[in-house]
């Protein structure tokens, strides 16, 4: 794999960011509280990128994303809680299994419902999310370890910033590579005009399912990490309101933009916490009100989202340079 210039800059930028965080940790500027917020932001980035693939790039309106986030969380969390013993290798395995289970469930439910038209698909995924939540609340009847309506605790808290950060970077790169390839182009063409894509030779059913499975697996991965960073899993954290959160992030960031999703995810998590701090104890009740107002104002001011369709140059793999006119040079095409 050759590294193109943009990718190199991406790595350098990430390294700088990492260094900054470490310095802030060392100085005490980054308190454990805000460290948790940062970790949560990165986890949400991974989950939101999943919905970005499904909805932002492939146009499949899913309102059940949090259900897969929860499936990953409970699967990985329960496995590691019961069998893990704090073993790092098992931890990674549990993350993988969590993602795979989420992807498998997505495949099974996606096969029948992905042929539904947009609004109906939304409601079907919404309904599925509720079914999953009920499952989480009653799962302890089958598997006592799952904890039921009061939640599950006891997962070894093995996820730390370093790990989460690196995982997030890897996921961002992999998602980018997917999008800027024929697979991404196939998905985008489905979003743009499903009928035309079909007639032009793209197996739309297959790629809708692929995008859905991939996106939900990412949600499952994010959930698995979440379970190892938060000592307590509660079914209410994975209901349709959480699905709305993911949707908000993807839409406000701009459909069809990874950069938008990433930045909005981080911004959204921090916004909620900043509001909490700024408002303090006296006005904490207003947090929800202000958040809602920001939401409404943001979407009215910028209905297409922050980055609709555009990406940071750093995220775009080196495109072939095309000069106008007779002379044409193809610059090195790396990853």
């Amino acid at each position: 794999m050759k590294l193109s210039r943009n990718t190199l800059f991406f790595f350098i930028g990430s390294a700088i960011f990492y260094a900054l965080v470490k310095i802030m940790q060392f100085n005490g500027i980054l308190t454990p509280y805000w460290q948790l917020v940062l970790d949560q932001a990165l986890i949400i980035v991974i989950g939101a990128l999943g919905l970005s693939i499904i909805y932002g790039f492939t146009g499949q309106f899913s309102l059940g994303h949090a259900a897969f986030y929860g499936i990953g969380a409970y699967t990985a969390g329960a496995l590691d809680k019961v069998y893990g013993n704090g073993n790092m290798l098992f931890f990674f395995l549990s993350l993988l299994i969590g993602a795979l289970v989420a992807g498998l469930v997505a495949f099974l439910i996606g096969l029948p419902i992905l042929r539904l038209r947009s609004d109906y698909l939304g409601i079907a995924t919404l309904g599925f999310g509720i079914i999953v939540r009920v499952g989480m609340e009653n799962g302890n009847k089958l598997f006592p370890v799952l904890g039921g309506a009061t939640g599950m605790s006891g997962t070894p808290q093995l996820a730390q910033f370093d790990l989460i950060f690196i995982l997030a970077l890897i996921i961002i790169l992999l998602v980018r590579n997917f999008i800027f390839s024929t697979y991404g182009r196939a998905c985008i063409s489905i979003r743009e005009d499903e009928i035309a894509a079909d007639v032009m030779g793209i197996d739309t059913t297959r790629y809708k399912i692929l995008a859905f499975v991939l996106g939900c697996a990412l949600a499952g991965l994010a959930g698995g990490i979440y379970a190892h960073r938060y000592p307590f899993l509660h079914p209410a954290s994975f209901d349709f309101l959480k699905s709305f959160d993911f949707l908000l992030i993807v839409v406000l960031g701009g459909l069809g933009s990874m950069t938008g999703t990433i930045i909005t995810a981080i911004g959204w998590v921090f916004l909620l916490e900043v509001l909490r701090v700024v408002l303090g104890q006296d006005f904490i009740d207003w947090r929800g009100v202000i958040y809602a107002l920001i939401l409404v104002v943001s979407i009215i001011v910028r209905p297409q989202g922050l980055f609709s369709g555009k990406e940071f140059r750093l995220l775009v793999p080196e495109q072939l340079k095309m000069a106008t006119g007779k002379e044409r040079t193809y610059a090195g095409f790396g990853n």
Binding site: L126, A292, L295, V296, I299
Partner: protein, 294 residues
């Protein structure tokens, strides 16, 4: 057997209340293709206003209902004007996000101490509950009232939509905004009226709900709103009889599941049925498949 029929009656009661909410969803979707997520919260506001009307301010019940309906009609119009109209010709998803924001706003604003407060409130019955035994079944006066009231509202709605100019305007706008404009229909006003009616219906549903299930709180609208919305989709979004049909089905499924399987499973089963129906009738029970012209 009596027990089963009584549960069926309960299911009807619930379903008819869902129908009042579902009608608002489906009418609004018809004219602006928007799923108004804030609608369930208008239901909540209606419930609270009704409660304040008859339980706090001592108004006679019909007046309290009227107050709730009128206020929520106004609320619906204001919401549309501020949060949806600017996005009317933007991508549909933008209006949806705005609706989510409005929904959250209504919930959190109502939770503030100087508004409704975050706590549950018990709603005292504005009239005593009377039960009759008809053919061995216990029937309550609440059930009868809900049935009668909703039936009257449905008839009025039918008359409005099919026998008035306003109704024709609504139907026209539901088909094509520009064509409607060219025919002299004031699209903005028609949409506002649609929101007003839908919100008034939701408010009525809220008051009836508060009387029948006497606990209210600012987040009470979320699940009924979701279920009513599901009901509207189940019946075919945008189709008025579909909303009623879907709502009645949702009410029955929820009540019967609660009674015979488990009350925790009721939501799961209701939505599982929804998914199954959609798989066989992808545009809802009464929906028409729109074939796209290629």
């Amino acid at each position: 057997m009596e027990h089963f029929l009584e549960q069926v009656l309960n299911g009807f009661q619930l379903g008819l209340m869902y129908a009042l909410i579902a009608l608002g969803y489906t009418m609004v979707y018809g004219v602006v293709q928007l799923i108004n997520f804030a609608h369930g919260d208008v239901f909540m506001v209606g419930a609270f206003l009704g409660y304040f009307g008859f339980a706090v301010w001592g108004l006679p019940l019909p007046l309290a209902i009227l107050l709730a309906m009128a206020s929520c009609a106004l609320l619906g119009v204001v919401i549309e004007r501020i949060a949806y109209r600017p996005l009317r010709y933007a991508p549909k998803i933008a209006a949806l996000i705005s609706a989510i924001g409005v929904s959250l706003f209504l919930e959190y604003f109502s939770s503030l101490k100087f508004v409704f407060g975050p706590n549950y409130r018990v709603v005292p019955r504005p009239f005593p509950e009377i039960q009759w035994k008809i053919a061995g079944l216990t029937v309550t006066n609440i059930q009868v009232i809900v049935f009668v009231v909703v039936l009257i509202m449905l008839i009025l709605l039918q008359i409005l939509i099919y026998r008035t100019k306003t109704g024709m305007a609504m139907r026209t706008v539901a088909v094509d905004h520009n064509a409607a404009r060219l025919m002299g229909v004031n699209v903005d006003t028609t949409i506002s009226i649609t929101f007003a009616i839908g919100s008034a219906f939701a408010a009525l549903g809220g008051v009836l709900y508060a009387i029948a299930y006497p606990q209210i709180h600012p987040f009470m609208g979320i699940m009924p709103g979701l279920k009513a919305f599901t009901a509207a989709v189940l019946g075919g979004i945008g189709i008025i009889p579909g909303a009623v049909l879907g709502a009645l089905i949702m009410g029955q499924v929820e009540t019967l599941t609660s009674a015979y399987i488990s009350s925790q499973m009721r939501d799961a089963i209701a939505f599982a049925i929804l998914i199954l129906v959609l798989l066989f009738r992808p545009t809802g029970l009464l929906g028409r498949t729109e074939t796209e012209k290629v």
